[in-house]
């Protein structure tokens, strides 16, 4: 454990080395989220609701997705370097060390600049919470927190899922970006807006709707049974196939040489 903390600290120190550059990156993340916010605002200056969801509810949805994504990507985004590590043979070096593989790949690339995105998400969430017209009782608050936490874990899993394919293709599969970066972009509207088929796909294949559309309905429904606040937890089942794919990859792994 000490080893990982040390590795984490070293990474933080090295990123802090170039303070101005770190600041610019954070600012960039903030501006990126800001432009997404305006693209929602501009649309809602012309309509009252989309797919039955009001502006305030969409903002709530957008902020939850932004927060989950920023946490998930700060931790797991570094796994995007994984295909390159496999490709140039750096992964072989990691295999020889008696430490956890995933953590060794992840920690050196932990991305602190995502704090810019996190701040933006938190601001919009702060705006949306009072505006949304939801009576915030204990079960609703717990539901919201669970949405963000499970969302962050799900995004992390998606990054890992994408990285694991490198074992089989020796290259990055940019196609899967649609479930990570795409989910952030399209997740600003509740997924039911995209039609039934997309909603089913995002419920049963890639459980993104479980941290967004269904719990959002729970928050909006005054009479909902409190047990429904645990809905986002079902998305955590996605950990299993991710883990399995990674394990399978390790077992099949043949070095690409260096």
């Amino acid at each position: 454990m000490k080893f990982y903390i040390r590795l984490f600290g070293l990474n933080l120190k090295s990123q802090m080395r170039y303070k101005f550059s770190l600041f610019l990156s954070c600012l960039g993340q903030f501006i990126t989220a800001f432009t997404s916010f305006f693209s929602i605002k501009f649309i809602f200056m012309q309509i009252d609701a989309v797919g039955g969801f009001t502006y305030e509810q969409v903002l709530l949805c957008f902020s939850v997705m932004t927060l989950s994504f920023s946490i998930g990507e700060a931790v797991g985004g570094g796994l995007a370097n994984f295909p390159r590590m496999v490709n140039i043979g750096e992964f072989d070096r990691i295999l020889t060390r008696p430490r956890n593989l995933i953590l060794q790949v992840m920690i050196p690339y932990f991305d602190f600049t995502r704090i810019g995105l996190l701040v933006q998400g938190a601001i919009v969430l702060g705006l949306a919470i009072p505006l949304s017209g939801i009576t915030w009782k204990a079960d609703k608050i717990a539901g919201l927190v669970l949405m963000i936490i499970c969302g962050a874990i799900l995004f992390f899993c998606l990054f890992m899922f994408q990285a694991s394919f490198a074992f089989f293709t020796m290259n990055s599969l940019d196609f899967l970006n649609i479930f990570t970066y795409g989910a952030r972009q399209f997740g600003r509207y509740p997924f039911s807006v995209y039609g039934k088929k997309i909603l089913y796909l995002l419920t049963f294949c890639i459980p993104l709707a479980l941290i967004q559309y269904y719990p959002l309905q729970f928050l909006m429904d005054e009479t909902a049974h409190p047990a429904r606040m645990f809905l986002p937890c079902f998305s955590l089942l996605f950990i299993l196939p991710c883990r399995a794919l990674f394990e399978l990859g390790i077992r099949k792994y043949k070095s690409a040489g260096s």
């Binding site: 960039g28 649309i43 309509i47 995209y194």
Partner: protein
């Protein structure tokens, strides 16, 4: 001129090498386009009085997805960035070739070659899907205007890209500048939502900025949202920005190169 042409050709061939990557990105573009269009479908179902019709928006998004690499200002020029970082820029400076012309040509080719590989399959797929979501084929005049405007847009993109690269002489890590550039250019060029969806006052100002002269103008012309006189004056604005950005970039480059220090090599 001949050396620029052969440089252009080399970059093109280099870009056409990776076919598997291309198939993946075609699929991505297609799915991305569908999702965007479904979102706009829902938006159009909840209101009227939009400055663009739904089928215009669908065409806009399909063309945007097909040509996305051409309109990409920030991410296409890894080699130029690497040459600044690792000092091999020194070799390029030793060539009897103006560095601005060299970079500008590379920027154009780096955008054109992946686009040529990607755009046709996306366009064909987009024309085959059912009616309201389909990519519409406009009349010949519009297509010609669109093509001319695309060429102009490519030049604007190239000129902005070179300006971005020049700023990299001043920073050690380019990541921050790139993230900011991507967000600002993307938003003001109609990358997130087409400019006609902006509130009217905003739209008037934003459409005069150089960013609108990149993807927004040709895409709006194709989709039929920008026609007649407006289209011609928008293309005039494109020419204006090309002249301004290239002149500015040329002088900025010369000014910068006077004080550049190559550390590695």
């Amino acid at each position: 001129m001949k050396s620029y042409l052969s440089l252009f050709r080399i970059r093109m061939i280099n870009g056409l090498q990776y076919r598997a990557v291309a198939i993946g990105s075609i699929l991505t573009r297609f799915c991305w386009g569908i999702m965007e269009i479904l979102a706009f479908f829902a938006i159009h179902e909840s209101g009227e009085n939009f400055a663009m019709t739904f089928s215009q928006t669908a065409s806009y998004i399909w063309m945007q997805q097909a040509f996305i690499l051409m309109y990409n200002v920030i991410d296409n020029d890894q080699e130029i960035e690497a040459s600044i970082n690792n000092g091999s820029i020194a070799y390029q400076l030793a060539l009897p070739m103006n560095l601005y012309g060299n970079w500008f040509t590379q920027c154009l080719a780096n955008r054109l070659s992946p686009t040529m590989l990607n755009c046709l399959p996306v366009l064909i797929l987009a024309m085959l899907i059912p009616a309201p979501y389909r990519l519409r084929l406009p009349d010949l005049n519009t297509v010609i205007l669109f093509l001319v405007s695309t060429v102009l847009a490519l030049d604007v993109v190239g000129a902005i890209a070179v300006l971005m690269h020049i700023t990299m002489f001043y920073t050690i890590s380019q990541r921050g500048m790139k993230i900011i550039g991507r967000a600002v250019v993307g938003f003001f060029a109609g990358g997130l939502i087409p400019l006609p969806y902006f509130p009217e006052i905003f739209q008037k100002v934003v459409s005069l900025l150089p960013f609108a002269s990149t993807q927004s103008t040709p895409l709006l012309i194709y989709s039929g949202s920008l026609t007649g006189k407006d289209a011609v004056s928008a293309m005039g604005l494109q020419v204006f920005w090309i002249a301004v950005l290239i002149t500015f970039g040329y002088y900025a480059m010369n000014h910068t190169l006077k004080r550049v220090v190559v550390q590695g090599g």
